[in-house]
């Protein structure tokens, strides 16, 4: 996997595992060992989908009514 911030490349497990916000989705948070950036990682594809800043939510809205309404639209 390649870090989108500093281009560091290594197998996924070498990026420090932080946590998975949505247990039912393959998107996790990992940390780049070189630049320390928090990255969202698609664990199925073995790729980072981008850097995660404060307030970002790459995994989308909470489950339930708000997401349901959004999906209905």
């Amino acid at each position: 996997m390649k870090c989108p911030e500093c281009s560091y490349e290594a197998p996924v497990p070498e990026f420090r595992y932080l946590y998975n916000v949505r247990i039912d989705a393959p998107l996790t948070l990992r940390q780049c060992p070189q630049c320390q950036a928090w990255l969202s990682v698609d664990e199925l594809a073995g790729e980072s989908t981008g850097k995660v800043e404060a307030g970002d939510a790459p995994w989308g809205k909470s489950a339930g009514i708000e997401r349901d309404l959004e999906e209905a639209v």
């Binding site: 996790t28 404060a54 307030g55 909470s62 489950a63 708000e66």
Partner: protein
């Protein structure tokens, strides 16, 4: 300072539309409350670290240690009484501008207290904690080192640890299976409010009673010799220690009176403030020496007793029922005599809560992470019924709820004892607090919990009806034989380890040691019953180890620690001449706080479904995937999450496993006995232990990895896994027998602030609450802050300092909790009802 509003402008409606309730509160509250609320030094650790400017108080520890050393030949209870009296007589005290209530657990507003004789390991941690030493730091460190050198090896925990079974001690101290300390130096002290807070008794009355007991006992000691009089000598010492400390407590209050009078007569120029100061002086000359006569005296007595209790032991909870015990004074002063206006009373109520909010003691890192943003669980009980079963709500119930919205503190929070006779007016006030995003009150089903008190511990119905939250969740009567003077926090179990150990033959891959019994290599299990049998053995082992430790700590506590002040305010101890922590005459009210519980049901169901029923995977494949923390097994992990039934969807497949786990545990709860020979029921809930244990619990078959937050509630479904709507959640939870299956069951739910707006929102919520009550659930609490606001608060925390969320058994300011906890809260399902 008058009780007039701080400022009002036309933008209130705008704030309301944007649901910026914190700005509304700031504009609506009085100038006094605004000043006092902003004056608080926040003691709750921010994601585990103390805020800049917070310093450990070294005055109290030094005074205490000096006098403790001096009286080295005294019995422990007398020694503590004398050391405590020395603190009461000499620690610096203060009165904040505009305040009307006094009392603080420390020598200055920005200090956190330190329990020097509790545990050496905590003392060492304090020495190494960066940023909290008063300037000059080098001198403070030298003082701390001196104090630590003295206490090393002779704190309460050191003494218990020496007599524990060595294997139990190592496993307990690993931090993997539970937390807390088996001593009354820390923990949750129930209060015998029926004895001292009904406006009938002051400390002088108690002292007079004790003197009578001593006189009677002394007669016996000069009577006929025999074994039946030998215990009396110890009891006389206990009584004398109680008198000594109660007298010191009266002097402590009078020091505040003297300071207030000095300020009024020599230092203050404002006439109105002089009057207030003289009233403070009069109040503190009156209480706690004598019974209170009005609301201010009643609040002041309660507050001083809570403060002084903390000088004796680092109390981690604040069991209270303020509307019930102070309500008669509110009704007299505000409604009958009209000696107080409603606005003046609001100032007193608000300050009473603020004085509790500012309290804080030093806690080790595990405790700070486990209770992020707060310093203890001040869950104040309101509502409920009187001993005769009639509605106990009064004018002060609604006054507290209204005031809570004005001052918006995260601690104390309220837990409302709902029952069928609660008026619509009171329910509306409760709902408004939730709508304003406070996360409290939580709702407790009173008829269910009264029955639960009677079922598990045999409390008579009249006593059961006096119950208050002893900590976050568990009820405890406030009566002579019902009150539990101390509940140590070490019967707090990290329950996810039960299933983890069942899958790894009792071995803990995170701490790297054999913890539980060897229940077999799970790779060889051929049916679900073998796995469930292993789980049962691990559960019994884990709970028994914790309970053994607590029982021993409780039994030895009067010898190892001693509580003269708590004894002096506990009728059972006063009557018998015993340390209040002694179980003699106590009915028993123990419980196990069951952290990280729901993972057991979801994990067992996932294994049953995918391995034993569908045979999609083998046990060998599963154990290998778990040992690698699911790395390289993402599709398999997703199958275990999405293709196995999950708790909270009204699916009997997994719900039956949940019930089986609970009932197997409940059976063991009756086998284990407390020091009063009563039961040990479990109360599934988490505080924020689900985050603390995220790096302690290994990968599980419910799909979590080591590092992921555990589920947030006691019976809350996993965040986002409750896909069948709110009624399905309630139905799953309603299958549990909330009287017989355990002590209490915490359910977090998240509602949409948009859907809950206006009268329509209230009516929807009322209908939902009727279902909750009909299904017999004992607890529910709500977060009602939108994703948008919470994400904005993550991005720009300075602007959202006052956003409050319900974490688990408590509320916290959102910006004070870690990113992982924040994300965990945001991902909870927003139920459309």
């Amino acid at each position: 300072m008058t009780a007039e509003p701080a400022k009002l402008d036309v933008s209130l409606q705008e704030h309301e539309e944007k649901q910026e309730w914190w700005w509304i509160a700031e504009k609506k509250r009085s100038k006094r409350l605004d000043y006092l609320r902003k004056a608080v030094w926040k003691k709750g650790a921010l994601g585990g670290n103390y805020a800049p400017g917070i310093k450990v108080d070294l005055e109290g520890p030094k005074l205490f240690t000096d006098m403790w050393k001096w009286w080295k030949f005294d019995p422990i209870i007398m020694r503590r009484a004398k050391a405590l009296a020395h603190v009461f007589d000499n620690i610096p005290i203060f009165i904040t501008d505009h305040s009307q209530l006094v009392g603080y657990w420390g020598s200055a507003p920005h200090t956190i207290s330190w329990r020097v004789d509790g545990a050496s390991i905590v003392n060492e941690e304090l020495y190494n904690e960066p940023g909290i030493m008063p300037e000059p730091e080098e001198e403070s460190l030298r003082k701390v080192a001196e104090i630590n050198d003295y206490w090393a090896g002779q704190t309460a925990v050191d003494k218990v640890a020496r007599i524990l079974d060595p294997e139990d001690a190592v496993k307990f101290l690993s931090g993997a299976i539970g937390w807390g300390a088996p001593t009354s130096a820390y923990g949750y002290s129930g209060k015998n409010y029926e004895y001292y807070l009904k406006g009938e008794r002051g400390f002088e009355d108690i002292i007079a009673d004790i003197e009578d007991h001593i006189a009677e006992a002394e007669e016996k000691t000069i009577g006929v010799p025999g074994p039946d009089i030998l215990h009396i000598y110890d009891r006389i010492q206990n009584w004398e220690a109680m008198i000594l400390v109660l007298e010191a407590a009266i002097r402590f209050a009078k020091r505040y009176a003297r300071l207030a009078r000095t300020m009024a007569e020599h230092l203050e120029t404002d006439e109105k403030r002089k009057e207030e100061l003289l009233r403070i002086a009069e109040t503190c000359e009156r209480v706690p020496a004598k019974a209170p006569r009005n609301l201010q005296e009643s609040f002041q007595m309660d507050l001083l007793i809570q403060t002084m209790s903390r000088f004796e032991a680092s109390e981690g909870a604040w069991p209270a029922r303020p509307d019930y015990y102070h309500g008669p004074f509110y009704e007299k002063d505000v409604l009958q005599d009209k000696s107080l206006t409603e606005e003046e009373a609001t100032d007193l109520i608000g300050e009473f809560m603020i004085r509790a909010y500012e309290v804080g003691g030093f806690g080790p890192r595990w405790a700070r992470e486990g209770m992020q943003g707060i310093t203890g669980t001040w869950v104040w009980t309101i509502g409920g019924v009187k001993p005769d079963g009639s509605d106990a709500c009064n004018a002060l119930t609604t006054a507290f709820l209204r005031t809570a919205r004005l001052i918006r503190v995260s601690n104390p929070t309220f837990a409302f004892r709902w029952h069928p006779k609660v008026s619509d007016e009171v329910m509306r006030e409760c709902f408004e607090c939730i709508r304003h995003g406070l996360g409290y009150p939580s709702f407790r089903n009173d008829p269910i919990l009264v029955a639960n008190c009677m079922n598990w511990h045999g409390h008579p119905v009249e006593e059961a009806r006096t119950w208050v939250h002893q900590a976050c969740m568990s009820p405890c009567p406030t009566t002579k034989n019902g009150v539990q003077p101390f509940r140590m926090a070490s019967a707090t179990a990290n329950c996810a380890k039960m299933v983890e150990y069942a899958l790894h033959n009792g071995y803990d891959h995170v701490v790297g040691m054999q913890m539980g019994p060897q229940t077999g290599d799970a790779r060889t299990f051929t049916d679900f019953e073998q796995l469930f049998d292993a789980w049962t053995q691990q559960m019994q082992w884990l709970l028994s180890l914790l309970v053994r430790t607590v029982n021993l700590g409780r039994y030895k506590d009067p010898e190892f620690y001693g509580r003269p002040f708590l004894s002096g305010i506990t009728e059972r101890a006063v009557e018998r001449g015993i340390d209040a922590v002694s179980p003699e005459g106590e009915r028993g009210n123990c419980w196990i706080t069951a952290f990280t519980w729901v993972e057991n049901a979801d994990s067992l169901a996932a294994v049953k479904k995918l391995v034993f029923d569908d045979k999609k995977y083998t046990m060998d494949q599963l154990i290998t995937a778990l040992e690698t923390n699911w790395d390289g097994y993402e599709q398999m992990r997703l199958d275990f999450v999405n293709k196995a039934p999950k708790w909270g969807n009204d699916d009997d497949y997994v719900d039956d496993i949940m019930l089986r786990c609970l009932r197997t545990m409940a059976k063991h709860s009756k086998v284990m006995r407390c020091t009063s020979n009563n039961t040990w029921p479990a109360a599934p809930q988490n505080v924020s232990g689900n985050i603390h244990y995220s790096s302690v619990v290994g990968a599980l078959p419910n799909g979590r990895r080591l590092g992921d937050a555990l589920y947030d509630g006691g019976i809350s479904p996993g965040p986002g896994l409750d896909k069948k709507g709110p009624t399905a959640v309630l139905k799953s939870c309603g299958k549990i027998d909330h009287v017989a299956d355990g002590r209490a069951f915490l359910l977090n739910q998240r509602l949409s602030p948009t859907q809950m707006a206006g009268e329509k929102g209230y009516q929807l919520w009322r209908a939902y609450m009727r279902t909750w009550a009909d299904l017999g659930l004992d607890h529910i609490q709500f977060n009602m802050v939108s994703d948008k606001t919470l994400r904005a608060a993550q991005k720009d925390p300075e602007k959202y300092q006052e956003v409050i969320v319900r974490v688990a058994g408590y509320s916290a300011h959102f910006v004070d909790i870690s990113r992982k906890t924040q994300d965990n809260i945001i991902q909870r399902t927003i139920q459309g009802i």
